[in-house]
Symmetry: C2
């Protein structure tokens, strides 16, 4: 998994404008062209960012972008939990532009730098734009290709839904996932390349290459394909009733509090952290690069301590591929509970502590799975614009017919077609589940 | 509209266990049996409720039920708006039990007292239960019939979705709307009666009789009926993309703040209010009754100043009934924007001030509509457990083919079948729109 998995799909280049071999050359050129430096700095060296008097929140002096505040979580009992959390109430656009060449759909993909990426550039959607981009708060350049997604001139909309992001790190964050298809000529900027869906899916097996935003849009793209009647284990009405029940049963109540009221987290000159390794630190970085809209800037980032784990158990049931989803509460989710991978943990061993020490009944099974059952296994990155070196190991493990269909009440087998149908709507499948659905598509 | 509209559907009694005439006798008996007194008191006479030091929030000493806090709303500009808001993060159950008698489905309806009702009792779902009911915080009796909706013994679930409530009065409130069908014998308590759907719909035309919770569950019930392919003006994918766009465009950002930080609202001994007649006051009441789980109690209520207005324009398009929905931001909605009636205003003249002075392009049309076009017109109550004498005039006005299909970008014609399909999911149609959909069903 340390190099491009050309062999993942023998036919990945079929009908493509550029071969993956050509992609590789282009990618090396982009890495060469976009050298940049990201270094940790003390919070006092942040430019225009400061801890607000009184609340202690870390805010930008424009009042825009995002803030780092506190979150307090309580349940039916008296115990409460507090932590820092990123509050970014604006909705951004994650958009992939699609156009057919000789009858084969291609996606316009971008080599995009984000300061938190472990490896400079990752393969990103055509557009990753925040509301601040639209309204030009940071006086940067226009966002390339935004006109295809925003305003009156855009093409045919194939995917358009609001999807959540990490509920342990973001407060109520969701972004607009879009796929737009055009027929007219589109100018190809040197940082962009047309790839077929099969090519992007083949590249998913490369470590830390296809970024989180691409993965979530790809997962939703499948939802746009017309489907036949499904023979799923549970009807979709039963699945909707189950997730409603799980949301009703969840006793967690969370709310924003001032960062100054978060307890147990210590503030050093260059880090705000807590003893628990399952959590994260807040750090500050200075970024210097040529490809961003602004050439130099500073910003805070959320830095997880360990590589996380997200695993789907998959199984054929009634002739349909299914995955075992978990109704998982996360304190920052808008709807408190979404469907998550079978195992989702803050460390590769699948074992969490504190808040993340929830019962994970399938952890032992996953740890002991025969290698032949592991259909997908790659370490991929979470969003580099807000997270520093945030890595997750994504695995898909296919179980056989001897594996029990019966599951704990907070788990359900969901057919892939049901999952992609639910992605027409927001807030059913969390971002880790969506990444895994994109990975599943790569299995062909 | 001041008496029961027996004539609304000539056949409303068809197949019913009890005629509407018998219902009327039963209802008179219930009114007689449940005399009670609700009187305004100063906040200092509230028992176990108090203004919390520091925040100024009005809270119960158990930390449960609900709190009255502040909300701050900001947009792209520097202006902000603050107001009090009810924060009740727990999800309650609004459940209607259904059973067939001689092949005709009947709903078990309840004569239920709520302290804010103008007229003591209203016709309520089988179960209206808060999480506090489940967990017995107020040491009251068990909630009757709850076992059919909660736990392992329940019947077949026909409706099960989380639906929002008033976004100007509640912070992120949603309740679980359920319809459960059983076949076994169900004991009939004297405060409950089996009515057919047609009978409940006929009773919707009676002023302040069918309560808000019944209306929202009834609206969702239609969603459970299998539908044929629809010939709607816009595809459902187009409608979903449009509401996503409207949510993305909405610049409103709202958050909870301490009630003490709300500006412009004055606190008297028995009322917290503001000059604007489109808003509400907060008041406190003492309740004494025989039918509630606790015989006497005190609580705060939110008291609107005027009778509101909610109007759907309806039109036949391509042989299908459609309504003209508005993408309407409300500061307390979990998703910021939901689909609302064509006109939704805090006063019967359709004209609001302040926050509610949004452009309402159809207000003049509604005010001048020919009486023959008004298919439904009744004043109905909002939730009497939290609101004091909150009345809304609900109207459905059917327009002809000469009425333009073109509409401002924040409006769309939605087929009734699309609307009911969307009600399988939460947070698409606001509570006023759902009330009007229930009223539409009564037109036969």
């Amino acid at each position: 998994m340390t190099d491009f998995a050309w062999s993942a799909r023998a036919d990945a280049d079929a009908g493509a404008l550029s071969s993956l071999s050509r992609f590789h050359e282009w990618w090396s050129g982009r890495l060469e062209a976009h050298r940049f430096e990201v270094r940790r700095i003390p919070f006092t060296e942040l430019d225009r960012w400061a801890f607000e008097p009184g609340t202690g929140n870390l805010v930008h002096d424009s009042g825009r972008f995002f803030t780092i505040e506190g979150l307090r979580l309580s349940g039916d009992g008296p115990a409460t939990w507090t932590q820092p959390i990123i509050n970014q109430p604006e909705i951004g656009i994650l958009g992939v532009l699609v156009k057919e060449f000789d009858g084969v759909p291609h996606c316009l993909m971008q080599a995009k730098m984000e300061p938190g990426n472990v490896n400079t550039l990752q393969l990103s959607p055509t557009v990753q734009a925040t509301r601040s981009n639209f309204t030009k708060v940071h006086q940067g350049g226009d966002t390339r290709y935004l006109e295809y997604f925003w305003g009156t001139g855009r093409g045919r909309v194939l995917v358009d839904s609001l999807q959540s992001e990490q509920g342990s790190w973001f407060w109520h964050k969701h972004n607009r996932n879009m796929v737009v298809k055009v027929t007219e000529d589109v100018p190809e900027h040197e940082d962009f390349i047309w790839l077929t869906l099969d090519q992007v899916r083949a590249l998913l097996r490369v470590e830390n290459l296809v970024n989180m935003d691409t993965r979530t849009v790809l997962a939703c793209f499948a939802a746009a394909r017309p489907g036949e009647p499904d023979a799923a284990l549970h009807s979709t009405d039963e699945i909707l009733s189950w997730i409603t029940e799980m949301r009703t049963r969840c006793a967690w109540r969370s709310r924003l509090i001032p960062l100054a009221e978060v307890t147990g987290w210590t503030r050093e000159a260059d880090e705000i952290g807590v003893g628990d390794v399952d959590h994260f630190s807040l750090v500050a970085v200075h970024v210097q690069a040529a490809t961003r809209e602004v050439v130099r800037w500073t910003q805070p980032l959320l830095a997880p301590r360990r590589t996380g784990l997200a695993v789907f158990l998959s199984r054929w049931i009634r002739g349909q591929p299914h995955v075992l989803v978990q109704a998982r509460p996360e304190p920052g989710l808008l709807g408190s509970v979404e469907m998550a991978p079978t195992v989702q943990a803050p460390s590769e061993d699948g074992i969490g502590t504190g808040l993340s020490a929830q019962t994970e009944p399938y952890t032992a099974y996953v740890a002991a799975a025969e290698p032949s059952r592991v259909r997908f296994d790659a370490v991929l990155s979470e969003e580099g614009g807000r997270f520093h070196h945030a890595l997750t190991r994504y695995q898909i493990i296919e179980v056989g017919e001897e594996f029990p269909l019966a599951a704990p009440e907070n788990f359900r087998w969901l057919s892939i077609r049901q999952a992609t149908g639910l992605l027409r709507h927001g807030h059913y499948l969390n971002v880790e589940a969506r990444s895994l659905l994109a990975c599943l598509q790569s299995l062909g």
